[in-house]
Amino acid sequence: MLYAILCYHDEAVVNSWTKEEDDAVLAKRRVVTDRLATQKKLGPVARLMPTTAATTVRNGREAVVIDGPFAETKEQLLGFYLVDCGTLQEAIDAARQLGRDETGAFEVRPVRYFAPGTQPGSQPGE
């Protein structure tokens, strides 16, 4: 079974960490991710840019592009895509096309750090 572990934290707090504090947290986590990686259990890892770098595409008959992160609480995170685009506009267009004739929203957030990991052995639902 594949599991996604999603990271939540108060970004004002995380952004106010010094580089040393940030590095210390990452080093602590790397012990775990290194172990998972040797067991071939670690898929892609991404650290996202702050929410201030985000743009939200709200689907509908006419998609609406809003600055900032997805902030509603009545909808839930159900999945994500990782796209490699040359520009923000290209990524927004991709989101628009994905959500054509749907409701819901896509938040388009640049990725700060990405490690592809190994192709996990199992498949969803296994």
Partner: protein, 417 residues
Amino acid sequence: MTDLAWIDAALRSARPQAVGALLRYFRDLDRAEEAFQEACLRALKTWPVNGPPRDPAAWLILVGRNFALDETRRFRRTEELPPEDMISDRDDAESDLAERLDSAHYRDDVLRLLFICCHPDLPATQQIALALRIVSGLTVKEIARAFLVSEAAMEQRITRAKSRVASADVPFETPGAVERAERLGAVAAMIYLLFNEGYSASGGDVHVRAPLCEEAIRLARLLLRLFPAEPEIMGLLALLLLQHARTSARLDANGEIVLLEDQDRRLWDRDMIAEGFALIEKAVRHRRPGPYQIQAAIAAVHAHAGRPEDTDWSEIDQLYAVLERTQPSPVVSLNRAVAVSKVKGPAAALALIEDLAKPLAGYFHFFGLRGALLMQLGRHDEARVAFDRAIALAHTPAEAAHIRQHLDRLMQDSQTA
């Protein structure tokens, strides 16, 4: 992270919202700060036991307000309020309370708090000191250190600034759109000044003053979270990030300034640069350019260049030309002249700065550039005069040392000639 470090970070990040809301309740800065201080003391006692509250800012606002009301009621001998332990467990009490604390005001609370520090009567350094004290919560000692003055002098400066803003009567009603935009502009300018206060420092004190840059970035982030659709605030944050990204490469081992073209670009912080690019892309979508966006775009051109010779100077020249039109200033023209010297040569640049001699008569960088251009043109005697003037105007030992290198080069040239 230890409990204490986590709590400290949470208190710091909740501070602008909490003090801003308490100020709205009490309409008195001292009282708001005192209430916040008390709430922090109680947080240090209860959070390690009960765990962090879901919404630290709401918790602090509520406890701070209760404390202040409690003080008032104690005089009136009325019943006690419930102790904060009742609201500090992990149930949903806080989120209900947070709603009752009309979180819709959050944005204007923080903006007001920042705006109060930008009182036009206050000189720039006092605005910055006040913002660092009130909004960021730095201690007087920390601020004094960053400004390289004694603690007593800074204490006095802040007290004076406070009493001035106390009599300023900033309205507490929710501001209208125009007023909000004005406040936003004033606050952005103050944040930019704060950054420059840290950035323009050099030499041995750079490590002391770097926190000013970090604090400016933190405040710009805060402002953008509150006003996510303002392209100029995106531009401001992008500008600060792109400039701060070069920090590690700006000074050499002796604490001397390393010019942009001589910097080791591998030392530039790629994360900050990437975030700066992302913010510029967002801002550009609005098609409402402004000075911060243009300056960020200029910084981005430099950041794009893997080597100095890859720099697109004609793009920079054009961006400065736009900036000259939207925000004319002799310093902008001077910067444009640097780009012109790369595109069209030193003679064209020198012609461009002739008119600036008067407005920039006391400006170190004017004479630095003038000397460099004259040196390139082989007019060594005139170059020496300009460099001597630059040294006399240098603010930091690093600035003076940098010019002295030029002078030494001139000396060697004349000896070998």
